[in-house]
Symmetry: C2
Subunit: 352 residues, 2 copies
């Protein structure tokens, strides 16, 4: 593997010592940046932006121009796989993602086409290659996918939802149908992430945005189980060369079990105490997180205070990657983001 | 205290032995019952129903006529206090609660009127008296209130919300203002619950529906702290005569700490493993919960299976009250509710 100029993030993912805690931000290329809004305007809509490799590359690099971050992340959407499967992803202004078709029964699942990542999602792989080229090994590049459960939730519901009641109902009304869908999606996600890795991503994150809606037992059977299969599907090809981050929003109660999957790092949301998270997982995995994104709506002194609490709580141990507990929101001022990053630098140097 | 004919619920709240696990259902008087929909139609709208003691009593008793439940609960709304404080609660068809006025700044908080529960919320107390009279000591009657944090969340947001971003922003932008509001609400909730107790409720539950949105530290400072004050405010008057249940949706990570508040029982949602919950709290408090409400959308065999898993997981220990992990949803068939109740009876008799 080529030498990466800034390898703090990769070292922290392997629980190696670092000069200071690395930081990146979920949704770091996003609407809170004025330059992002300009590029998105140029693209037309969000999906057009995702499908244009030049513009994807442009927005992926924007936060790195502005801020002293320790990782780049592919710019794309978590729902590209269902779109490639023919569900017709679209975005309406001010609303979340929607699908023109949804999955309701066995024939819907059986009729999902067999896709080829290299053909049907070539636009994502092209974006990976271009971002990787432009990064020129300055920083590591993260690839990602939605978890099978999270993809299924959107595919059955047809859009975001407060309670995802349709997919929750299917889990109990027809669990075997849901498993069939999850198996198909798992196979797609493995191929998708392997293809991203072939094109140059050096780390992958699986976003299990809706795992926290499941009951304790159902989380293991319907979400973690499939993420575990993905990890096996990646590790069998790449060994430990490509660190894998699992992020389950609302999964704080399950981190001891998530740590047993052979993932390399667990992303935690802001409801989890990072000190006890570290104690629970020991040196088995790294921990990524977990500032409440709402903190960035306040002022510099509050931001510094809340950052310092997280750095102190994690303590002088290897294996912390600073991040928000969820994606950054569009109403955040970029100056406040910079303050957070500076605070992470300042407070974590003491442990170096 | 007068003898209650069915005291299973009260015994379980005190970790005493019972012949079988008691059960009641959050939102048991609700839209899933056709007879409820008839009464609500008669009342006009939901708030008119809450303000009519005869109709409140009618709907509170409806589930008890149909099902073999072990507790009755006052029929009311969690937002009666903000309504009495002048915010103008209203409900639009198919939507959640809304307020005509919201709390945005210091003068909004300072200008909240001093209310008298006996005058301004007399309709709730009248409903308590009437339900209590009609129950004729057949079953214990539960009173309730929203938690200060949950009331504040609605008062600041003006309605339900996916992320409650306004109140989350205020928590970091102006924490002292939020504390001032929470203090006022805490005093109201103490008076409100004490008045319900004077009028005959034998148990109270505090619904902290939105505590799970807070970061670990913020939950303690902005939600649990105030619930703790309420517990003190009730125990100082009633000692241990009136058991107190705290229910924080999304609070599974914090139950060891919730158990230290001197509450009598912790309500847990469906994401928490009830076996480990019991292990964490030991014999300090009872546990109420925690079937995923979505299970009731499936069939009888799935319902029996999921009920048996919860009963077995809790095991043959005193101090379990069966309930859903959240309120029952309008799309549930009453027959399925009956199946759940029968299953609780059947599976828990083995431990008697």
């Amino acid at each position: 593997m080529t030498e990466i100029k800034n390898d703090r993030f990769l070292r922290a993912l392997r629980r190696k010592s670092v000069d200071r805690t690395p930081i990146w931000i979920m949704r770091q290329a996003g609407r809170y940046l004025p330059e992002y809004r300009v590029t998105r305007e140029k693209a037309g809509d969000f999906l057009a932006l995702c499908k244009n490799k030049q513009l994807c590359c442009e927005v992926a690099l924007q936060p790195l121009e502005r801020f002293d971050l320790d990782a780049a992340i592919l710019f794309s959407d978590i729902l590209t796989i269902p779109d490639a499967l023919g569900l017709g992803l679209y975005f309406e202004a001010g609303e979340g993602p929607k699908f023109r078709k949804t999955i309701q029964n066995l024939s819907d699942v059986e009729n999902l086409p067999k896709i080829s990542i290299h053909n049907d999602l070539s636009y994502v792989l092209d974006a990976v290659s271009l971002i990787k080229y432009e990064l020129n090994n300055r920083l590591p590049l993260i690839g990602f996918s939605g978890s099978p459960w999270t993809l299924a939730a959107y595919m059955i519901e047809g859009q975001g939802s407060k309670n995802f009641s349709k997919v929750k109902a299917m889990r109990y009304q027809d669990p075997m149908l849901l498993h069939l869908l999850l198996e198909k999606l798992t196979s797609c996600v493995i191929d998708y992430l392997n293809a991203q890795i072939e094109h140059g991503v050096q780390v992958v994150q699986i976003f299990d945005s809706w795992g926290g809606l499941l009951s304790h037992d159902s989380y293991f059977d319907f979400s973690l189980n499939y993420m575990n299969q993905i990890i096996k599907g990646l590790k069998i090809v790449h060994g430990d060369n490509i660190p894998i981050i699992l992020y389950t929003k609302g999964g704080g109660q399950w981190i001891s079990d998530i740590a047993k999957t052979n993932c390399d790092c667990i992303g935690i949301d802001w409801t989890t105490d990072i000190r006890s998270a570290r104690q629970k997982v020991g040196n088995l995995v790294s921990i990524q997180g977990n500032l409440d994104p709402s903190v960035l709506l306040s002022d510099k002194s509050m931001i510094r205070n809340e950052v310092s609490k997280i750095i102190e709580s994690f303590g002088p141990h290897p294996g912390h990657i600073f991040n928000l507990g969820h994606g950054i929101t569009p109403d955040v001022k970029p100056d406040n983001v910079n303050e957070m990053i500076m605070a992470v630098h300042d407070f974590s140097y003491q442990f170096s």
